[in-house]
Amino acid sequence: MVNLIGKPVELRVPSRMGYEKVAMGTAASVAKLMGFPDDRIEDLKTAIAEACINAIEHGNHLNENLSVGVTLSAHDDSLEVTVLDDGGGIAKAPPKPDIDRKMHGEEDPRGMGMFLIQSLVDEAEWVKAGNGKASYVRLVIRLDKESD
């Protein structure tokens, strides 16, 4: 595999629903360059889409004057991604979605984004930064890891 270590790819998109698809396209291109198999690229795309949607909606409150920042760092055997917003970060980790509770109206039908991110990538970490004025999620997806 070709050595891609070097400067990260950096992307900034406006905080508007739909622009998560631009981050998906950029991330898919980087992962393809690195030689990720198609199924892992799909996992990465969904994880990045959910992270961007959360940054747009919960972090930047759909304020289009704010951007969502995405960095993609190619390492020897993994791709590391951060998705940055200007919000205060998550207050507490949401419960794992429970389909029975959802189906019986005991739980919001939403609230699956962070669960999907965690399920689809190899590492996911939510970090508060900039004294409450920024937050990011850091994702790692490994090249050797088989898709689950």
Partner: protein, 117 residues
């Protein structure tokens, strides 16, 4: 700015003298798909099974999946059979992860779905 969802409603024969409603989606399934999913579901007969056709959908996010779950809730209340087909292997995996398969079977294609529901 998000691609809108289009839904077309088909009636097909189930091969046993009965009829099945097929909701064929195209575009994105996202937070902006409320009317294309729940709005359309309100208009279909509750006395025959419903198949959800995702063949022409290439983007689904978790807000869109939440709308699919709300549709399954409605079908459940109406004791209506509901199943899906045409999801890519990736979205079959995602639907399985969130547990949707407990309330709606996922079939490979329309022929299998029609024969199995």
């Amino acid at each position: 700015m998000q691609t809108e969802t289009k839904t077309s409603v088909d009636q097909i024969a189930d091969g046993n003298g009965g009829r099945i409603t097929v909701l064929r989606f195209s575009g994105d399934i996202s937070s902006s798909s409320h009317d294309a999913l729940l709005g359309i579901y309100q208009t279909v007969s509750k006395s025959q099974p419903v198949l959800l056709d995702f063949t022409k959908v290439d983007y689904i996010n978790s807000s869109g999946i939440a709308l699919v779950i709300q549709m399954l809730m409605e079908a459940n209340k109406n004791e209506q059979k509901i199943a899906a087909f045409g999801l890519t292997p990736h979205f079959q995996k995602v639907f399985t992860m969130v547990g949707i398969t407990k309330y709606a079977a996922l079939f490979q294609d329309e022929a299998v779905a029609k024969a199995s529901i």
